[in-house]
Amino acid sequence: MMSRAVKEAIVITIVVVVIAFIVNYTRDEGISLIADGDAFRIQTNAEFMVAEDARGHFDAGTAMFLDAREVDLFEAGHIEGAMNLPSTSGEVNSLAYLVPANPDLICYSAAATERQAGVVADKLLEIGFKKVYVLHGGLEAWEEEGLPTAKGN
């Protein structure tokens, strides 16, 4: 009986691998077979800030929060008062003039895609902002602290 299960499992696996590779090859969202390891790492020159410290800035109104995710995710829920500055939009440079220069700038994204926050933070540092941080653990860390979020734009 078990040998039958194993045989079936092997057949399923072979068929699935073929389907998965064909689909991956033909679609726009497909990814390369071998990962570029650097693409996964958060590479940022900005410092990290934990949610607890970010809360202090939030309460005191001394920081501006920048959401590096895409617009739809931003609209589904973001840190209250945050501004959407998607890392992929290529608009960081053109939008950056909107970012007030005085307060600390805290960039964040989702924990699993924290890299996006790093990209935005680095661009802001390049432009010349000094006090730029990445929220460690992203929006999830913020929500875990029970801190306020908002929906819409």
Partner: protein
């Protein structure tokens, strides 16, 4: 056949186990199939898989979840798909436990990739309960409500 076996081999219990497994795995696969790059990042965050294998896993695993989920529901290759689902669950249980033990503060990557829930003991318990369903489907799944012509 002793009492426990009689209960476990009840065809409606077996069907329920199959439907639960199928529904969970199909649901879990959808967002991962839509966003392979995001899933690759979620796998990377566990810091367990060699970088050269991450993308292959991100490409294949969601399809394995989807197709096993469909097969176990419609009743084709029930035991084979139960075996594969069991193998995937075993991997998830090891990965989750290891992440909890290492205190990794990462998104689970179980059902949603972006802004999903974090890793918690609760997820682990769910996986263990699903493993019980796998046991039932693997042992008794090849009979009622399924196409009997599997591979012999």
């Amino acid at each position: 056949m002793n009492k426990i076996e009689t209960v476990l081999s009840n065809k409606y219990l077996v069907l329920a186990a199959r439907l639960i497994l199928g529904a969970v795995f199909i649901y879990a696969s959808l967002e991962k199939i839509q966003n392979p790059a995001g899933f690759a990042q979620a796998i990377y965050n566990y810091r367990m898989v060699p970088e050269s294998l991450i993308n292959i896993m991100a490409i294949v695993l969601p399809w394995l979840e989807l197709i096993c989920g469909v097969l176990i529901i419609v009743g084709v290759f029930v035991r084979g798909s139960a075996l594969l689902i069991g193998a995937m669950l075993a991997v998830f249980i090891v990965a989750l436990s290891s992440a909890i033990l290492r205190g990794l503060d990462i998104s689970c990557g179980c059902f949603t990739l972006e802004g999903g829930r974090g890793i918690a003991g609760k997820t682990l318990i769910e996986d263990i309960l699903l493993m019980v369903c796998v046991g039932i489907a693997l042992l008794y799944g090849g009979k009622a409500f399924s196409f009997k012509k599997g591979l012999n």
